[in-house]
Amino acid sequence: MAKLHKMPIVVGLFGLIAAAMLLEFSVDAGWVMQLVVPRPSDTILAFPDVQADMDLFGNFFVTLGMTAGATLLALMIGVPFGYFLWRNTKYGVAYEGWLAAAFAAPTVLLYPLFLVIFGRSHATLIAMGFIPGAIPIIIQTRQGLLGVSRTLLNVGRSFNVTDRDLFWKIQLPSAVPTIFTGIRIGVMYTLVNIVAIEYLIDFGGLGRIVSEMYFRFDTPGTYASIIAVVLVSVFFYWGFGRIEKWLRPV
């Protein structure tokens, strides 16, 4: 048991396989309707068909690219804006509530407006993905900088470091975990919004395939394309984990 704790990936995979086997058995036994939830084995077998029919692999990269673009934009605007709100306390206090409210709002429903502004294009997807991605990054960047331990700051000052060094060598590294929490939340919301818009307007990558398969009542195909969406999510989760470790190795 103690050894298992050292192998989280193995434990996770074991749980996943066990759940898949249970589902397989449940579908076979008729406890779960096959038309609603397919056998995991059927879902795996559906991948080649969906690839041949809808270019699942190519569309995986379309959704991945759209999500990466929107997230990058969210980072470029979110982190500096979060920093600005931290530096300017009045603005920070004034806007934090508004940002939290905006984050809770179902911005995906604004897609007709974005269609008018950006047209039926990838720009709409990126813009719709950017909004829910940027807000948690802004909030968490401010929170991360606010939460830097006073002890650490005092230690820095005792060494007579400049304000610039204090920020880059103490405050930012200390805030990184909180900022990355915001980034992880942001990228997930970005992905959800992008896939939802793809589904709704029948444009773009994986969301369009999910929609197509769903409307064909091709349940294994639907789940295969949903798994592809999950893989996009896993990629970003893993990727940002690596970047965080690189930025803050200890």
């Binding site: 309707m33 096959q34 038309l35 007709p112 269609l115 047209g119 444009f203 409307f215 064909r216 009542f217």
Partner: protein, 321 residues
């Protein structure tokens, strides 16, 4: 005394027999596949005018958010009957083993669909659409997609077919000039026609290949149907009457307008926009055509056999002969 007693017993028995349907009305859970569309009014008409009650049925009527989502409720058994589902989706689900059966036709052809342009557009009719113009539809494999393909082929148009989503999304994109045309279904957006903001350039009547072909159907869960055959037959009779009531009652049209907050002026001609002769519950026609279209649109992987098509349709709730 015995005569009086007999009379009392007979009167009591008669009352019990007459009251029985009301007391033990059979429940039917109905889902309209979408809202606002004129044919979706018939279940409300039957429910609100005592027609279901007359046939010993207590129906609950809800509406879904489109064909696929509504059909899901039927194949999972959470609803018993879906009213007005797209036949392609039904054929597709049936081919994959869904426990569903068609009880009747909801509409043959697509006369209630129409395409429009902004009022200041130089396009006057479908025939003015060129290769640089978009002829829009909701989503691939949908009824509007079929109609657009058939219209394009029938009129030899060169225009691009573009998916724009439902009527509201289509309106946004057409009015903002992103696409040359918009699509809608009568009586939706008729207010814009009346106020001369948009202009109709053609209707689904021009999809010649779909004329007489059942496009939307009434579909039931087959397990429910097997156990409630008599209920299904009575339900269908009630729906025939409900449909007739919608077409013939001005009051019902007013109710329809009020239900969806439509202008009565826009709905009073619904009977012309959606002619009664194409919405009769029988026949369910042209399934062989639909079978081929379903294959072409990848809704099914191989054509349904004659036996499957035969098994699929239970007209008015009766087993196919």
């Amino acid at each position: 005394m015995s005569n009086i007693l007999k009379s009392v017993v007979i009167a009591a028995a008669s009352t019990a027999v007459l009251a029985a349907p009301a007391l033990a009305a059979d429940k039917v859970r109905v889902i309209n596949s979408t809202k606002v569309v004129f044919e979706m009014e018939h279940p409300y008409s039957a429910a609100e005018n005592g027609i279901f009650k007359k046939y010993g049925i207590k129906a609950s009527v809800i509406h879904g958010s489109g064909g696929a989502a509504s059909l899901q409720t039927i194949l999972t058994g959470s609803q018993d009957v879906a009213w007005g589902n797209g036949v392609l989706g039904v054929v597709s689900a049936y081919a994959k083993g869904a426990p569903i059966r068609v009880l009747g036709s909801n509409i043959r052809g697509v006369p209630d669909l129409y395409w429009y342009v902004k009022n200041d557009s130089p396009i006057k009719s479908f025939k003015d659409l060129t290769a640089k113009h978009e002829l829009v539809y909701s989503r691939p494999g949908s009824t509007t997609n079929l109609a657009a393909i058939y219209i394009k082929n029938a009129l030899g148009l060169k225009s691009k077919l573009v998916s724009v989503g439902g009527p509201s999304g289509s309106r946004t994109q057409a009015m903002s000039g992103q696409v040359a045309t918009g699509w809608s279904v009568f009586p939706l957006n008729k207010g814009l026609i009346r106020s001369k903001k948009i202009r109709v350039i053609g209707t689904g009547k021009q999809a010649a290949g779909l004329v007489g072909v059942t496009i939307r159907v009434i579909v039931a869960n087959s397990n429910w149907l097997d156990k409630n055959r008599d209920v299904a037959k009575r339900f269908m009779l009630a729906m025939m009457e409900g449909r007739a009531h919608t077409y013939n009652s001005v009051e019902q049209m007013k109710t329809y307008a009020a239900r969806w907050k439509l202008n009565f002026d826009d709905v009073k001609d619904a009977g012309n926009d959606t002619p009664a002769e194409v919405t009769t519950i029988l026949p369910v026609a042209g399934l062989d055509v639909i079978n081929k279209i379903a294959l072409e649109n990848k809704k099914i992987k191989k054509l349904l056999t004659k036996e499957q098509l035969h098994e699929l349709v239970h007209p008015m709730g009766y087993k196919p002969i």
